[in-house]
Every structure is written in C-alpha cells, then in structure tokens.
C-alpha cells in the first residue's frame, strides 16, 4: 500500500512537470496578464457592474466577493478539459495501460490549473477590491488567501471526477468544462445566496465545491466568528475530499471502459 502511494506520488510529480511545461509553452507572463487575466477581470467586472446598476452597495460587494472567488474555480475547472488533452498528444493509451493507471498522471498533469486558479483569484480580488473600494477587514485579509487555496483544491477534485467522465466523450470537454463553471456560478452562492433556490437545489449545492468555502470568505469579510469560519472551511475540505475519493475510485475504471470497447485511441 505504502509503496503504491509512493509510486503514485512519483507519477503525480512527473505529470505535474509535464503540465507545468505545457502550461508555460502556451502562456508567458505577458500573455497571461494581457489575455487570461484581462479576460477574467473583465468577466468578473461585468457582474460587479450589475450590482452597481442595481444601486445597492451590499449587492455589489456580494457579487464582487463571489466573482473574485469563482475566478479561481473557473480556472481549476479547466482540469475537466485537460483530462482529454493526452488523447491529442497520443499518450493517452500509454497512460491507460501503465501499471500505475491514469489517475495519478492525469491528476499531476492538470494540477497546474488549480495553481493558476489560486493566483488568478488573488489577483482579481486585489484588482476589483481596490477598483471598487471593497473594505478588507484584517480577518478577511488574513484568511481569504488560504480559503481561496482550499476552494480551488476542492474544485480541482470535483473537476478530476467530472474529467473522468469527459474522457468517454472528449468532444464535449469544453461544453462540460464551461457548463460546470456556470453551474457553480449559479448554485454555489456566487451570485445569489443558496437559500434563493428551491430546497432540492440548495441540497445539491451543499455537495458542490465552492459553496462552503465561499461562505467562509463572506464570513471573514463580515467579521464573523473564527469558529463559524472554521466550520465552513472544514465542510469545504470534506466536500473536496469526497470528490477526490470519488475521482480516485472512478477515473481508472472509466478509462478501462475504453480498453474494453477498444475506443481508447478514438475521439468520438
């Protein structure tokens, strides 16, 4: 068991090296700022301006915090699309038949995206916070960066699980990637409180990433008690671990479907 874990960790590290190199082949610091960050800031700003249009400073702050946070999971959700990239590189089948399976290598390869999400969310928070005069209480200043890390990691676990299914229909990867982000934007308390939705939708949002972590961020901005913040953060960790366990259980099994029906090398 221990040796298997060590082996998986090694594969994860190698996957991360590939993903990291791949990422910086596509982006440079300049293009990251001029394209990725610009687009993300503009998209978040549209929603903050909706709050301004509604003429309620509380709504504006609510939308600002929600959209600055969701900038991170939006990037982390790219893990869903990344799960299919090996197909185009021709290395997918090798990973599926490797003794260590595809779960660890895929997780490593896509880990650069939650890292990108963390930095993106921090920067968007800073830009929009300063731009729209959002007051940063010391508690928020201290806790938000860590909570954003937590939220991005739980979103990453969720994306690994969804990415496993996308492997069965690679051409739907972008649809499911952006669709997942939009679902989080609608249901996870980013734009409206979870209580706005019917009860069954609210119950669904409890098992989605972001919901509890974002609640913790909002509490930090409202100078909520540390115990309440810690409770929300713990729930976010639990949700993240649940999705991670599900993805570990599912990803290799889903890839095995391709082995059985001989579709590993086909992009249907």
């Amino acid at each position: 068991m221990t040796s298997r874990l060590i082996q998986s960790a090694r594969v994860f590290r190698q996957g991360l090296r590939v993903g990291w190199t791949d990422f910086w082949l596509f982006w440079t610091w300049r293009t990251w700022i001029a394209a990725w960050l610009l687009r993300t800031v503009c998209s978040a700003m549209v929603w903050v301006l909706l709050g301004r249009m509604l003429g309620n400073p509380q709504t504006m702050s609510y939308l600002l915090i929600g959209n600055a946070v969701i900038a991170g999971p939006s990037a982390a959700c790219w893990t869903i699309a990344v799960s299919c990239w090996d197909r185009w590189d021709g290395t997918y089948s090798l990973q599926v038949i490797a003794p260590s399976g595809i779960a660890a290598s895929n997780a490593g390869r896509s880990f650069v995206w939650p890292l990108n999400g963390i930095v993106t969310s921090w920067v968007v928070f800073a830009i929009l916070g300063v731009g729209f005069d959002l007051p940063f209480p010391p508690r928020a200043l201290l806790l938000t960066p860590g909570l954003v890390i937590l939220i991005c990691l739980s979103s990453y676990s969720y994306s690994l699980f969804v990415g496993g299914f996308v492997g069965l229909a690679p051409r739907l990867r972008l649809m499911i990637n952006f669709g997942s982000t939009n679902v989080l934007m609608a249901l996870a308390g980013v734009s409206v409180p979870v209580s706005f939705w019917p009860r069954w939708v609210g119950a669904l949002s409890q098992v989605l990433p972001v919901t509890h972590g974002l609640q913790a961020v909002r509490l930090a901005f409202a100078n909520g008690s540390l115990s309440e913040i810690a409770a929300c953060a713990s729930q976010e960790i639990l949700v993240g671990l649940m999705w991670l366990a599900l993805s570990i259980a599912a990803v290799d099994r889903l890839a095995a479907i391709g082995r059985r029906d001989g579709s590993i090398d086909f992009v249907g």
């Binding site: 001029a34 610009l38 503009c42 998209s43 549209v46 934007m185 609608a186």
Partner: protein, 307 residues
Amino acid sequence: MGLAKVVQEKASESELTVNDGSADLELLLRTASHGAFVGKPRAQSWSRSRRYAYASLGAARMQVRTTLANVEDLTWVVTEPLLAIVAVAILVHARRPDLASHALSASFLMTIGQMGFWVGSDVLAHERHLETLELSVITPTPLVIVLLARILLISSVGLVGLVEGWLLIRGLFRVPLVIHHPWLLLATLLATMLAATGTSVLMAALFSLAREQRTLQNAVYGPLYLLGGVLVPVQYLPAILQPLSPFVFLSWSAELVRDSFTPADPRQVGLRLAAILGLGAVAFVLALLFIARIVNRLRQRGTLGLS
C-alpha cells in the same frame, strides 16, 4: 509566347505587388477578390456574381456538415445561455425582474459573439492546420467569399442564444418578457449577425498567422463584452472606459435589444442600426485588406502550405 516569357511576366506582376508595398487599396482589393470589384464588363460581372453565390452556398453547406460532425462548434450555444439563469437570479433576488431583458441581451450577444469570435475566427487557421488553405486559395472563387459564407453561417447559429435565453427566463423564473417592438428586435438581430460576421472575418484573418491564436481569442472577448455593455448598460462602466464603447458594435446591439422589450418608443433607430452595420462593414473591409496581404505574402514566400 514561350513559357519562360509567361513566367517572367507573372513574376514581374507579382514583384509589382510586393515592391509597391504602399497598401494600395485597389491593388489589395484586386488580390483579395481575384478581380471581383475592378475593371470588368457588366455581363461578366453578373455571371461572376452567380458563380460566387453558388460557391457561397457550397461553402455554407460544407460548414453545416462540418458543424454537425463536430459538436465542439456548438459548445457556446449550450454554455452561454446558462449565464442568463445567473443574471435573472440576481435580478429577481434584487426584486428587479423588470430588467430581465438585460439578461436576455447578454445571453444572445454572448452566444453570437462566442460563435463568431471563437468558432468563426478559427476557420482560416483551421484551414491552414488541415492543409486545405492552398486548395481554397487557388480556386477561382476568392477566399474571402468562402470565408464570409462559412462565418455567416456560424454567426447565425448564435441567434439560438436569444431563443434559449428567452425559454430559460420564462421557463425557470416565470418572468414576463414582452416584445414591444418585434420589428426592431428582428432588424437588430439581423444587423448584429452581419456585424458579428464582419468582425469575425477580421479576427479570422488576424489570428490565422499568429502562433498564439488561442491566446488572442482569450484576450478579445472579455473586453468586448464589458465595453459592449451586453449585460450592464455602458453608462455604468468606469468613466475612463465609456468613450471606447461606441466603437464596439455590441454596445449598439445591446441597447436596441433592450429597447425592443421596453414599451417606450425607441429613438434614432435608423442611426443606431446603421452604427451596427457600419462597424461590421469597417471590420469586413479591414478583413479584405488583411486577407489580401496575408495570402499575397504566403504565396510569395511559398509558405502557404506550412502551418
């Protein structure tokens, strides 16, 4: 005339185009359209128009098949209207369901925008990637005609975003969305589709040569939606950005779509529709110039087939 002489004459013609280098409009248009606009008798012009129309239909048919075979092209038709749910949820929660037309305009314009600025702007680069650009360039039909027909079809798929947005808003939130000015809405949809096509042809031309095509695509649409006021009217933008908005056709389209759902009579409709079409036309003329120059350069350097 010997073959050598012909080659020499062609070479000197080509040299003229290169060395002239002063972006002479007539010369560039001639290259872009294989003589579509310049110096031909009227009868020939009519038969050529028919040929181009026939080629356009063929290109559109080919695009239909390509899109149907590649569900990725329809990504944005599925994902963008979902944002209408987010927007209306915010509006209903803030007790302002009367502003639902803002969500609808965002759903429509972002869908048509993504279809054009993402899928449409891929067309030329994709041709290079598949190594079919040489074939497209050497056919008697100007490349730009084929490109226009294909991107027009892609943009028109974006119209579905309006229907989807309307169904989502009405179905999920029961918010009334009454079209008070149906003709205005129809005219705005058509003008927007044409302007999105013109702009996307320009982007296709600009992006086709770039190694960082996806990076450029990423850079473009966020600012365009912000400046275009697709969800929030331009007057709520930071003052420093507001002067840029009139140069983005989406800003005119968004206001007109919203006016279609407002009981008050819209003002200066002709002027505003002309602004949408004018901006689309400017983008298209720029595209003509770029495509002429790009194809010219690729042919002269012998790199047309290298992607």
